[in-house]
Structure formats: structure tokens, C-alpha cells
């Protein structure tokens, strides 16, 4: 079926894509700069069309626990928030990871720490990719760099979430959430009628009761579960790495950037090449799993790498680990809600690697 072309904000695109993906339930709480998601859904009122439930919870904590409840029934459920709200959700997220439930959490990142700013930032990379809550776990983390990807990644997120029974975070930022771009929207999907054998749907006589929990008081049982999670994360590392490359064929230097920073860095590559500097860009699309293997390969070909993020330097640690000392790696980023300019990136690159 033909895709529909619309001009939308990233936040609106996520909301519309969720309806079209056949999502069963959205549970949210307002916070800038992502509130358009719940506003859009409330106005669209999909309960009348697809039957999708949209509920404004009393807090981010309640919203993520509603996601837990819905996901445990095998339903396609999601929530969205921005940095301070995502911090509140961490308790629920670790329980969801611990109970191996599929769901989508959208984080339209703003600057921090604390209440910080409402302007875009990429300072929640650690929180998103290294766990975020307590215990050994990972989310699958997708980083959209356009309104189109904010829409497309809804479907992809649920595909991965159900494939691995693992929560997925879409790590966007205030710039992509708020900007308007054209977006091709997929046709309406039917809501799934699948009843999963692990889900709590009421115990029929034909099966044992299903228990959704993250508790195991037996240390041996808990360790076995941790090992099972590690095996799952390794499988995800093996199968689900996604990235995009830009002008790397002859590159002598490499920028590594995701989301809004990756958009800026495309321009930086162009500016650098106008000055005769052979610069390329690698854009991780999955932040967990991180494209470590590819970055390590590229370290054999380039003279240095610059991790560009709107943070004090978070992803740079994963780039350093990937490169494993083969070439110098530096970080460049603005903070406080300031979006890096392409020129700043080129200046930094020159000062670190070329001199002058």
C-alpha cells in the first residue's frame, strides 16, 4: 500500500506511527519537549478507530508501571517522556527488563542534570545504553536522526522488543522531537490478536499459571537468570547492530555522531572536504548494541576519530573502547541545550588532529 506524505513534528510522527503500527496502549505524562505525543494521541482518539488505549497517568512512575501491566499481557504498549521523566521511570524500566517484557519507551532528551533545560541535548546516553536503573540489564536503544526515523522506529522497536522480549528505548532529542519535516507514514496495521504463551491473559485449564515477576530469592536461580540475560544481550549484539556511513571510502578522519549531532556532522564533512580534509561520518543507529566492530575496523584505516555529542562526552567512551587504542579519539560537544554548529566541529577536528 502507498505511504502517505505528511509534514509533521517528530513528536507527532511518533504518535501517528504508533496508531498506525497497531499499538494497544500508550501511557504518558506531560513533560517538555515531548508533550505533543500525548496531545496528538488524545486528539486523534484512536480508541474510536483502532481501539488503542491512551491514558494520561498521574506520574511518569505510574505510566511506566502501566506499561509493565500491559506488556505483561502481551500487548503492544509504550510510553514517552523526556530526561527528568525518564529518570523517574527507571524503577519501572528495570522491572520491565527483569521480567523480560517487550515495550517501547521514547525519550525526547533535554539538557540536565536536574531540571536542567528544556532545550535539546544528548546527555542521557549513559542512562539509556548502560542500564539506567539498578541491576545488570540493557535496553535496545535506537537513535533516530530525522522525523522520518522517529516514525519508522516505532514499528522497528516493537519488532525488536517482541523478538527478544526486551524493552526498547527510542533515544531522540528535543530538536528532532520539535522540528517539522516531511514524513512518509506507513498504512494502518491491524492490532495484533496474538496471545503469547508467556503472557498473563487468564489461566485456561490447558496451561500452568503464568507469573510475570523479576524476583528470584534463590541466588542460583537469579544467577542463572542473569546469565540468560547476558546470552540474550550477546545475541542482540550479534544480530541487531545498525549504523549509517557517510563518505568514509577515502576518509582519513572519522566523526562518530548520532541523532541531531549526526545531522550537523554531515555538514561538517562537507565543509572539511571543501578545505581538502578527507573526513567521513559514522552514525550509529543502534546505541545498544553499539557498532563497535565496524568502528574497530575503521580504526585501521583512519588517523583519528572525533565523537560529536551534545554532552560532556559519553558515547566517546564506547568509541574509545571500540578503537582500543589504535588511533587517537577525542570528544567534541556543546551542552546546556546548545546544538553544535558544523563549523565548530571542523575547527575542533583541525585543532586536535591537523594543527591550526
Amino acid at each position: 500500500m502507498k505511504k502517505e506524505l505528511r509534514l509533521m513534528k517528530g513528536n507527532e510522527a511518533v504518535a501517528e506511527a504508533a496508531i498506525r503500527a497497531g499499538v494497544d496502549g500508550y501511557f504518558g505524562y506531560p513533560i517538555t519537549p515531548q508533550t505533543e505525543i500525548i496531545e496528538y494521541l488524545m486528539e486523534a482518539n484512536p480508541a474510536e478507530t483502532t481501539g488503542m488505549i491512551v491514558l494520561q497517568a498521574e506520574s511518569e512512575i505510574a505510566a511506566i508501571n502501566m506499561v509493565y501491566g500491559g506488556a505483561a499481557c502481551g500487548k503492544k504498549v509504550m510510553t514517552s517522556s523526556s530526561s527528568p521523566g525518564i529518570s523517574l521511570k527507571q524503577e519501572g524500566i528495570t522491572y520491565i527488563a527483569g521480567a523480560e517484557l517487550p515495550c517501547l519507551i521514547v525519550n525526547v532528551v533535554r539538557g540536565g542534570p536536574g531540571l536542567g533545560t528544556i532545550q535539546p541535548a544528548q546527555s542521557d546516553y549513559f542512562q539509556a545504553t548502560k542500564g539506567g536503573g539498578h541491576g545488570d540489564y540493557h535496553l535496545i536503544v535506537l537513535a533516530p536522526a530525522s522525523v522520518q526515523e522517529m516514525a519508522d522506529f516505532v514499528d522497528l522497536s516493537f519488532e525488536l522488543a517482541f523478538k527478544y522480549r526486551n524493552p526498547v528505548m527510542m533515544l531522540s532529542d528535543g530538536a528532532i522531537g520539535q522540528m517539522m519535516e516531511k514524513v512518509y507514514l506507513s498504512p494502518q496495521k491491524e492490532r495484533s490478536k496474538t496471545i503469547y504463551d508467556w503472557a498473563t491473559t487468564g489461566k485456561p485449564a490447558t496451561r500452568e499459571r503464568n507469573i510475570i515477576t523479576s524476583l528470584d530469592l534463590d541466588p542460583n536461580g537469579q544467577e542463572l537468570f542473569n546469565l540468560k540475560l547476558i546470552a540474550k544481550y550477546n545475541l542482540i549484539r550479534e544480530n541487531e547492530v545498525r549504523y549509517e556511513e557517510f563518505q568514509i571510502e577515502d576518509a582519513e578522519y572519522l566523526l562518530v555522531a548520532y541523532g541531531t549531532s549526526a545531522r550537523v556532522c554531515q555538514k561538517s564533512v562537507q565543509l572539511a572536504r571543501e578545505e581538502g580534509i578527507k573526513l567521513g561520518l559514522l552514525r550509529p543507529i543502534t546505541l545498544f548494541p553499539f557498532p563497535s566492530k565496524r568502528i574497530n575496523e575503521l580504526a585501521n584505516r583512519v588517523k583519528g576519530m572525533l565523537s560529536v555529542e551534545m554532552s560532556a562526552g559519553q558515547m566517546v567512551e564506547d568509541v574509545l573502547l571500540s578503537v582500543n587504542g589504535k588511533v587517537p579519539v577525542f570528544h567534541f560537544g556543546r551542552m546546556g541545550g546548545i546544538v553544535t554548529t558544523p563549523e565548530e566541529v571542523v575547527e575542533c577536528l583541525k585543532s586536535k588532529f591537523i594543527g591550526g
Binding site: 494497544d24 488505549i53 500491559g70 491473559t201 503464568n210 507469573i211
Partner: protein, 259 residues
Amino acid sequence: MAVVTGIKEIIKPENLVYKKTNIMTENILSYCPGCGHGTAHRILAEIIEEEGLQSEAIGVSPVGCSVLLYNYLDIDWQEAAHGRAPAVATAIKRLMPEKFVFTYQGDGDLAAIGTAETIHACNRGENIMIIFINNGIYGMTGGQMAPTTLPGMKSSTSPYGRDVKTMGNPLKMTDIVATLPGSYYVTRQSVHTPANVKKTKKAIRKAVRYQKLDKGTCLIEIVSNCPSGWKMTPVQSNKWMEENMFPYYPLGDLKTPVE
């Protein structure tokens, strides 16, 4: 099974008047001797059996002594984070309205850390049943002060008795819930005597019926004992409960539907 029996001639299937429902699993309850949790579980299980709800019941268990509740009733369960059961149940019921959805929570879970979730689920009138076990103490962690601990009552974090000036007053959550427009049936019961067991069972049966009729939130508080936490024998604890808990938390309906 090792048993002791009364008059053997009477023990025939046709004479059976009471046996443990099959909804209760064979697992040995993790509770201390005489704890009201077990009785409350059994009544709930009996209602599930008698009303034929096994295939449609989805329970949400709390954090606290009854965290392992899912081991004892043979139905589908979700184990919620501390205090979050009403939010979890909200989503289950919204997404699967044809199911029978309930939470089972203690006083710390429901009336302290889960205050917001409790109030808002009830205020939205979520069509769920909440069973609230109030024994005035945190049992699982070893007898600390709860939001429902009585004035002057000793606990491991109020070793000289609850001083309401510095530790606050006991919270009557059930009374608060009864004032909310979304709650439909709110009652306070106990399970320490046969008569009270019957009343509580009747209350749960009502809540089941109301949920089928989509009436809104039903909350059943069960004032219960904690022999270990209160440092008494089970029989003493039930007497202490009658003399001290009931005056503060009087039994009876707080909100009944106009039918």
C-alpha cells in the same frame, strides 16, 4: 499426607462440608503462624473458585510479606514494584476489560509508597478490586513503622512508640478512598473469627459482581494481625487487634452503592 482425624466413620465424601479449594496451590505459605494473610488468600481463592474466575483472573501481587502470593493461588499473576500495583492493574483492565483484575497490597505498599497510585486509580474509578491488608506494620522487613501504625505503637523504627508529633499520624487510606467519586464499594473487614471471615468473603463476592457490572473501584481493607511484628502469640495478637486496631480502624462499610 500425615493427618490426625476425628471420628473416622463420618469422614466420607458425601459428608464433606469444608476443604481447601484447589485454587490454593500445595505450596506451604511463607507466613508466620497465625498470620491473617493466609486466611485472606484462602477466602480470595474460594471466591475465585466459586465464581468460576480462574480463567479470567489476573492478580497483581505487591512488595511486602505477600510478595510471593503468586506461588499460592493458581491463577495468572503479575508481580508489581512496591506500591505500583494499582497502576499495573489499571493497564491490565483497560487493555483486557473482560478479565477479572485485582491487586492485593499491604499497608506500606498501598498507603505509603503507593499513595499516589492508590488515590489516582480509585479516583479514575478503575474497574478493579483492591484488597488492602492493614496490619499496622512493615512485616517483611522486620517490623518497622507503617503509615497505619497506631499512635504510641512500638515498632523497630518507633521503638519508644509512635510519636505523632515527629512521626506523623496513622493514615486512614480507606476513608480517603471512600470520599473519591471513582470508588464504588469501600469496606473494612477482618478475618480473625469465623463470622468476620464470612463477612469478608461476602464483601469480595460483591466486588466481583460490581466489576462484572463495570461499576468502578472496589476496595476491601482487611484489618489484620502481625504476631511476629507485634511480638505476640497469634491468639494474643487477634485480641490486641480487636482492642486497639478496631477502635482506630472500625469495621464496616465506608461506601456502599445505592442499588
